[in-house]
């Protein structure tokens, strides 16, 4: 039997400093950093520098490689051209044009210098640019859509505009477009003029309208202008011709373009006879193949030609091969920069796939997709999968996207849609060197935006040559892309019966009780339900057991496994040699894990793959990271490679089992968090190597778009959303229920003389329920004046109502089993509680409060204060809301409780206004006079929501994905805030990272920040906090459109400024007068996921902080500046550098690992946890050297943390609260701050709760109590969990473990929480037995956690309790290990 004393604490007592020397090696193992920056000095070697060679920017290329200075032996007039482009493909074409002009021209010699937009970030390059403009004749710009840089271009060119002979700007931001001038033709009035010309150019609301209308202009206008003799028309005509030349792109066209402009506008050449030809026009849209003699504008013609190819065999020409559609940018073809396209075409054809490569010159590809890839007669797709090689969103390119139109076109096409990308802003080497991977602006433009179209697999397939600017294939990446495209195509071609599917489940943390973990999901029941359905559909699922319990048994073998029996069912034993031959990267893992097989997922000789096969379906258990129990690695590895067993699992799935697709089952696994670049994987990034060639379909919780996005980008998943379980109100139980009854009798009897007696019962019951920490209660027996009684009762009442109405997801969701209508009521009530002014919808509480002449906001405030009548009114409003909505739902439901045909029911309801069920219901309440119009609008909306909540698309979408169809994209998030999340079963995406924070988010943020500061002042003698330490989460910011991001901005007193396209790339300070308080300093801890998704916003924040630190303001009004000055002094650096406040993990690493340490009990003391936090979370993003990625700035991090007066986090949706996940405590620095502070004072810890209409700022301990009361200790919750069986027990254990996590990081957990948990789960014999028999492994962990809580001093209890736990532990341990006593 295991010794209890040692079991949770078996770690060798290594101190952090001892560890550091041991693990230095691990620390650096997985960075992609250049070696030279790592110094030998151990101290400084902890500082990680990145690719910050040279200017610290993303690109180090210089325009000098593009400069051509003519020899000009014949003293010809010189024409100097300066250009700025996004598209490097123009570089070689322009260079060629100018070279040949200089060779052949007898009239002029041409000097040219070109800038790639991104290079202008560099100050000295920008200076050169300005200087070049000073003596330039002609300026040319194209596709300048990055606001910061657009403004730089504008400023520089504007100065010289009058002097310049010609300024030509092709599609760009309006600010830059306005610079256009050719003689009398000018665009300076763009957007303001009423002339039809400008009207045409004005951007339309629809999508890529702007660029589209320009092109339309190009097509139609020349004809018109021919007949207009005036000079003006001539100038306009030349502009249009210029655009045609430009879009024609070939060196010939560009040569003629330059001739035309110089002879027409350069004074020295005016009147000279310089001949130029008209532009050679290419098709706007069409089909292109490198071998074809011509471009095609008809797919049939193309295929006819394809059939005559003499280099290809009959098979390729025949009908039985995969057909891949490719989407290409015309500019690459016409400028001759097409090597990377040719590479993809060759690779696909060599692999036996036919290609249909289509191109478009404009930014809207939806038309060409429909025209060339869908058979006009049958309406069926002519391709099996589509790969866009442009990197851009289907409609709108870098300008204004129109996702609905893109989705529409792709839905018609209905094949898998992959968006791969060539490097644009970086050279090949810069990308390889970067730990971030892809340039953040390219991530925003070419990864995030295509995702909104349903695009998958952002594989970087082409690099960029630093000198020619040309694109070139990355041969391994091209292979990866092409194989994957064909594999997706095969899903479309293969029959269901022959398709092989590998279902992968997780085990977090590694424990047998945790097999099949996923957030909110009953994994095995769901798998069972999926498989039953697939079987019916024609898939081969031979031997599937009769029940889902039997399925669990099969895979776990035996929940109460014998000690000697293997843990899990072994599906395959892989010999070491086989493993090595199947896993090309196996040697790379040895540095971390030694020679295979190692001791994880291994029997010492073979690597073991756990799982079980049924026909063509394999259910396997994903191995874990492998270092969860290893404190050394947890502390120091920025990231670690997968272990051999992990790699063997994926090698098995791909190469032995030969899966046609892998289905990762539920949120979330380890694959996508394996080390590698953040976005834009290279050959050596583990997620890419592991997933190999297998199409990846991933069931993901709809409320977690951020991590889903990581899975999407790093493991190429088609993420299909599933619903979180229907929420219910927490309700009241035990003492809390008694309290509510007492309060009710107080209200009816308070004036009868029994008042004082009831109040004293209320007080004593409240104390029994431990409410005395949340509500100030008078001592028992103390005489309370009559007029104060109401307030005492009101406060308790308010607290109780808060608990009662808390939403919690009950039980676990099962795929294929949508909630019944009645189960959706609580969700609908909460949807109805939010005002939606943008849709003209008033919330139900607002309407009801108005009915009785009240303002709901005031009712909320009053209720918060405990004013009895407000609490009571709020309760009545809540009750009436529930009643009205239940009445409505009942009417749309059949006898079985399922929703039937909401639309019809609804219209019949709406047809007879008098019979509206909610009106009927309300007529019996005090709200009988509620505004019917407003109610009708609201309920119409609720009807739509109801339909979506109960929709059953999750299985359907999975089947679509497996059949090689297009899965429609949809946002992830909180269905209550954003019902567009529904129905589930969509390919989840995040949002355009440049779209946040929105104005609305800024508004809400102000409210929360003001309340937070108010609260802190109240608790802290009226003093403003000088520094607040807070956390930014990816998911929160997606759900709330950047509320927490906006909070940071508001704390330091700045506001975001949006550009013409509504993108936020700039901030400006709010004056101290307007702010009305000092600027509060911040320490921003960004989660790894936030860093991956929102690096642009980290950049924005860093700029904001630095801007504020540099404001000339008194230190007592600007704490950012105050602290930065102090830190600059102490560290001997400048203020700007000292003003570093935006931290996260190193690139490619996630979380502080405190969660893993806590979950695995693998830590010694709190100092060790704090060390983990500091060493893993002290990486800063520097807006002055963005290309450097994340750099370690631990000193500043510690210094600024030591000034924190408060720590702060947000809760933004009801289904994830403090103890539901380990993330919240993982990132909590409360105890750490205390340790770092000079006065060792514990900072206040706050949690903002914006889950309900009535936003709250509570202390952390209040929130922990609230969470414990509504979940862990609430019979409604734990019984709900128990009904999910095996997984339910684990959920209960998880809450307790997370509670211990809070004790460890913040010390804000009350003793009674553990005590009550102990009496609920251990002292209750019946409960105890249910837990043991349902999931003994998880129960053992539960007992262990109780003991740990006691052992670590977080829970004081009786010796008796501890004895019982110890005894239980050994009993269950023996039982699990099969030892008979």
């Amino acid at each position: 039997m295991a010794s209890l004393v040692s079991s949770p604490f078996t770690l060798p007592s290594l101190k952090a400093d001892q560890l550091s020397s041991l693990s230095q090696k691990h620390y650096f193992l997985h960075s992609f950093l250049p070696k030279k920056t790592i110094q030998t000095n151990p101290k400084s070697s902890m500082k990680v520098k990145c690719a910050a060679i040279g200017n610290g920017l993303f690109t180090q290329t210089t325009p000098e490689v593009r400069r051509i200075v003519p020899e000009n032996n014949q003293n010809l007039p010189t024409v100097k051209i300066v250009y700025v482009v996004l598209e490097a493909q123009y570089q070689s074409s322009l260079t060629a044009a100018v070279q040949s002009l200089n060779e052949n021209s007898k009239f002029a010699s041409y000097e040219v210098v070109g800038y790639l937009v991104e290079e202008l970030r560099d100050e000295s390059t920008y200076k050169t640019f300005c200087k070049d403009l000073e003596d330039a004749n002609i300026f040319i710009g194209s596709l300048i859509f990055v606001e910061e840089l657009a403004l730089k271009v504008k400023t520089a060119v504007e100065k010289e505009r009058d002097r310049l002979d010609a300024v030509l700007v092709f599609p760009s931001m309006p600010e830059v477009m306005r610079l256009n001038k050719l003689g009398s033709f000018s665009m300076s009035q763009l957007g303001q003029s009423k002339s039809p010309f400008f009207q045409l150019l004005k951007r339309k609301k629809q999508g890529a309208g702007f660029a589209e209308s320009m092109l339309k202009l190009v097509r139609t206008l020349p004809k018109v202008l021919k007949y207009l003799p005036s000079d003006k028309a001539q100038d306009a005509r030349l502009y249009i011709l210029s655009l045609q030349f430009w879009l024609g792109g070939s060196p010939d066209n560009l040569q003629n373009f330059l001739k035309m402009i110089s002879v027409s506008y350069v004074p020295a050449l005016k009147g000279k006879k310089i001949e130029y030809s008209d532009p050679v026009l290419f098709l706007d849209n069409g089909i292109w193949h490198p071998l074809a003699p011509t471009m095609f504008d008809d797919v049939k013609e193309y295929l006819n030609w394809y059939g005559t190819r003499k280099d290809a065999n009959e098979k390729l020409k025949g009908p039985n091969v995969p057909v891949i559609g490719l989407i290409l940018q015309r500019s690459h073809i016409v400028t001759g920069d097409d090597g990377h396209y040719v590479a993809v075409i060759m690779e696909l054809e060599a692999r036996g796939a036919k290609v249909i490569p289509i191109f478009a010159g404009a930014l809207d590809f939806s038309g060409p997709v429909e025209r060339f890839l869908i058979d006009p007669v049958t309406k069926k797709p002519m391709v099996n999968s589509v790969v866009s090689l442009t990197g851009f969103a289907l409609v709108g390119g870098p300008a204004r996207q129109d996702h609905p139109r893109a989705v529409e076109a792709l839905r018609k096409l209905d094949v898998p849609y992959i968006v791969a990308l060539p490097l644009v802003f970086q050279t090949t080497e810069e990308w390889l060197n970067s730990t971030l991977g892809l340039h953040p602006i390219q991530v925003a433009l070419q990864v995030a935006l295509p995702e909104l179209d349903g695009g998958m697999e952002p594989i970087v397939f082409a690099g960029r040559d630093p000198r020619t600017g040309k694109s070139h294939a990355l041969h391994k990446r091209v292979e990866q892309l092409c194989t994957r495209a064909i594999r997706w195509a095969e899903l479309k071609r293969k029959s269901k019966a022959e398709k092989k599917l590998a279902i992968t489940v997780f085990s977090f943390p590694p424990d047998k009780g945790n097999i099949g973990t996923a957030a909110y999901l009953n994994v095995f029941s769901s798998i069972y339900s999926v498989l039953k359905d697939l079987k019916k559909d024609g898939y081969n699922v031979e031997g599937l057991p009769e029940t889902s319990e039997a399925l669990i048994e099969d895979i776990i073998h035996d929940k109460e496994a014998q000690f000697s029996s293997p843990n899990l069912n072994i599906a395959y034993k892989m010999g070491v040699r086989e493993y090595q031959s199947l896993t090309p990267y196996a040697t790379a893992l040895e540095e971390n894990w030694g020679k295979p097989p190692g001791n994880l997922n291994s029997d010492g000789e073979n690597l073991l793959v756990y799982g079980k096969q049924y026909g063509n379906v394999f259910i396997g258990v994903q191995p874990t990271f492998g270092y969860e129990g290893d404190p050394m690695r947890l502390l120091f590895s920025k990231s670690a490679s997968p272990h051999h067993g992990f790699a063997a699992y994926y090698s098995f799935v791909e190469k032995i089992f030969n899966a046609d697709a892998v289905l990762h089952f539920g949120t979330h696994g380890s694959l996508e968090f394996m080390p590698g670049k953040q976005v834009g994987m290279s050959d050596v990034c583990y997620p890419d190597s592991l997933i190999g060639n297998i199409p990846n379909v991933y069931y993901y919780a709809a409320n977690n778009p951020s991590e889903a996005t990581i899975a999407k980008r790093r493991s190429y998943a088609n993420t299909i959303s599933y619903l979180t379980p229907p929420a219910e109100n927490a309700g009241l139980y035990k003492g809390l229920k008694q309290l509510s009854e007492l309060i009710s009798s107080y209200q009816s009897l308070k004036d009868t003389g029994r008042g004082p007696q009831i109040v004293s019962s209320i007080i004593s019951t409240a104390k029994q329920c431990n409410l005395d920490k949340d509500v100030e209660l008078p001592d028992e027996g103390e005489e309370i004046p009559a007029k104060e009684r109401d307030l005492v009762v009101g406060k308790v009442y308010s607290k109780i109502m808060e608990i009662e109405s808390r939403l919690l997801p009950c039980g676990l969701h099962v795929i294929g089993e949508p909630p019944s209508a009645m189960e959706a009521v609580a969700t609908l009530v909460n949807i109805a509680a939010l005002n939606r002014p943008e849709d003209g919808i008033s919330s139900l509480p607002t309407i009801l409060a108005e009915t009785v002449g009240q303002n709901i906001e005031e009712v909320y405030r009053g209720s918060d204060k405990g004013i009895l009548k407000d609490v009571e009114l709020l309760r009545q409003i809540t009750e009436a809301s529930r009643g009205a909505i239940s009445a409505f739902v009942e009417r749309t439901t059949n006898k079985k409780g399922q929703v039937v045909d909401v639309t019809n029911k609804l219209s019949s309801i709406l047809g007879f206004g008098i019979n509206e069920p909610w009106v009927q219901y309300l007529s019996n309440t005090k709200f009988y006079r509620a505004d019917r119009e407003k109610l009708r609008t609201l309920f119409q909306f609720l009807g739509e929501c109801l339909k979506l909540v109960v929709a059953d698309n999750e299985l359907g979408s999975l089947k679509q994905a497996l059949e090689g169809k297009y899965v429609e994209p949809g946002p992830g998030g909180d269905p209550i805030r954003n019902p567009k999340v529904l129905p589930t079963g969509k390919n989840i995406h995040a949002l355009d990272p440049q779209a946040i924070p929105t104005t609305a988010a800024m508004q809400s943020a102000k409210v929360v920040v003001d309340r937070l500061i108010e609260r802190q002042k109240a608790d802290n003698g009226g003093k403003y906090p000088e520094t607040i330490a807070l956390v930014l989460w990816g998911t929160d910011n997606i759900k709330t459109y950047g509320e927490s991001l906006a909070q940071v901005l508001w704390m330091i007193g700045v506001k975001p400024v949006a550009d013409t396209f509504g993108r936020v790339n700039r901030v400006e300070p709010v004056s101290l007068e307007e702010l009305g308080r000092p600027r509060i300093d911040v320490v921003v801890n960004c989660s790894g996921v936030f860093r991956d998704l929102f690096i642009n916003q980290m950049n924005l924040l860093d700029r904001a902080v630095k801007m504020v630190a540099e404001l000339d303001e008194p230190a007592d009004q600007n704490y950012v500046r105050k602290h930065a000055l102090e830190q600059a002094e102490a560290l001997g650096i400048d203020v700007r550098e000292a003003a570093t406040r935006v931290f996260s993990n190193a690139s490619g690493s996630y979380s502080s690992n405190i969660n893993l340490a806590v979950e695995n009990s693998s830590w010694n003391d709190e100092n060790q946890l704090q060390d983990m936090y500091l060493s893993r979370k002290s990486f800063a993003f520097d807006c002055d050297a963005p290309g450097a990625g994340m750099m370690e700035k631990r000193q500043v991090f510690e210094m600024v943390l030591s000034t924190a007066d408060a720590t702060f986090q947000n809760l933004d949706s009801s289904e994830i609260s403090l103890t539901d996940v380990s993330h919240y405590f993982d990132s909590d620095p409360t105890n750490l701050v205390q340790n770092l502070r000079k006065d060792k004072k514990k900072p206040s810890a706050y949690i903002a709760d914006t889950t309900t209409a009535n936003a709250q700022v509570r202390t952390l301990s209040e929130t922990v109590r609230l969470d414990a009361r509504t979940k862990l200790l609430n019979p409604k919750w734990y019984e709900g969990m128990m009904s999910s069986g095996y997984e339910g027990v684990r959920e209960i254990e998880k809450r307790l473990t997370n509670t211990v996590g809070w004790s460890a990081t913040s010390g804000q957990v009350d003793n009674w929480v553990y005590e009550e948990a102990n009496s609920t789960f251990i002292q209750d014999e019946e409960m105890l037995n249910r837990l043991i028999s349902t999931n003994p492994n998880s129960f053992r962990k539960l007992v262990q956690t109780f003991l740990e809580a006691n052992g670590r001093g977080y829970w004081e209890t009786s010796q008796e309790n501890i004895e019982k736990l110890r005894q239980l532990y050994s009993e269950v341990e023996d039982k699990i290990e099969g030892i008979d006593r």
């Binding site: 070939s250 010939d252 040719v342 060759m346 050279t427 630093p466 040309k470 292979e479 086989e578 031959s581």
Partner: protein
């Protein structure tokens, strides 16, 4: 013309052998391929791209031009090994390299010449004899250090048919100075070695760039001209773990790279 020799090589799955042969000899009389001297490789491509080419960093654009300095337009379109021999005999490797690529373009056919680079599926049109002759010259003047057949042996034996490994062996890629081992293409022409030294990697020349991926090189190395380079049983160097214990798989594995074996491609162009 060699009747589509690739068809008989390496691929087991095609059934249209004879049909294709027939078609080819019908539609493409042998003479038209090699004997028609063209006046230029399309001047536009030639002049306009030449500049951008010389300075690119990957093994880059070399296909799209014929070197302007060393070749007279009239000579450029006929197939003659004289120039190559001349360059090689004078150890003018840079020019010999360019000439080799030009010859491949000429040999691959008329359309190739217009385009300026060889599409992988056109390699089958190059005759065994001609390709061997080119290879022989390289070997002859390099003490068997350079040439396609040398490259084929390295690719097959030392690199396990993995192109990244191959590129490293022959010195076409370089290791980057990053913590995780990564490679980038060498920059053309400066980072290549244009002399036959002791430390010049075996197989370094002639160059076939990866600008358009590896399929062209793959086709060249699989050309029947180099069929007799047998895949020797055990592989030396780092690939020693490369074989599974399963006998059947081993056999399969040695004939094709794993990814391709599993993928069942059809290469029968």
């Amino acid at each position: 013309m060699a009747p589509n020799p690739l068809q008989s090589l390496h691929y087991h799955h095609h059934h249209h052998h004879s049909l294709l042969r027939l078609q080819h000899s019908d539609s493409q009389p042998t003479s038209s391929l090699f004997l028609k001297p063209r006046t230029s490789i399309s001047t536009a491509t030639n002049t306009s791209l030449s500049l951008s080419i010389s300075s690119s960093s990957s093994t880059t654009t070399t296909f799209s031009i014929s070197p302007t300095t060393s070749i007279t337009p009239s000579a450029s379109q006929t197939f003659s090994l004289d120039l190559l021999r001349q360059h090689l005999s004078t150890q003018n490797l840079r020019q010999a390299d360019e000439e080799t690529r030009r010859l491949l373009i000429v040999l691959a056919g008329e359309a190739t010449q217009k385009r300026g680079y060889v599409f992988f599926s056109e390699v089958q049109f190059i005759s065994e004899k001609d390709l061997k002759a080119i290879d022989e010259l390289w070997k002859q003047y390099s003490n068997n250090k350079f040439g396609y057949s040398i490259q084929k042996r390295i690719w097959q034996k030392n690199a396990g048919k993995d192109f990244t490994k191959f590129f490293l062996k022959v010195g076409w890629m370089k290791k980057l100075d990053t913590e995780v081992v990564q490679y980038n293409y060498r920059s053309f022409p400066n980072e290549f070695i244009w002399e036959l030294n002791d430390d010049t990697p075996e197989g370094h020349l002639p160059l076939t760039n990866a600008l358009r991926g590896t399929q062209l090189l793959n086709s060249i190395l699989n050309h029947p001209a180099f069929e007799d380079i047998k895949e020797e049983d055990e592989v030396d160097g780092e690939n020693k773990h490369g074989k599974p214990d399963n006998g059947l798989r081993e056999e399969e594995n040695s004939s094709k790279p794993l990814s391709k074996r599993l993928f069942k491609p059809n290469y029968s162009f």
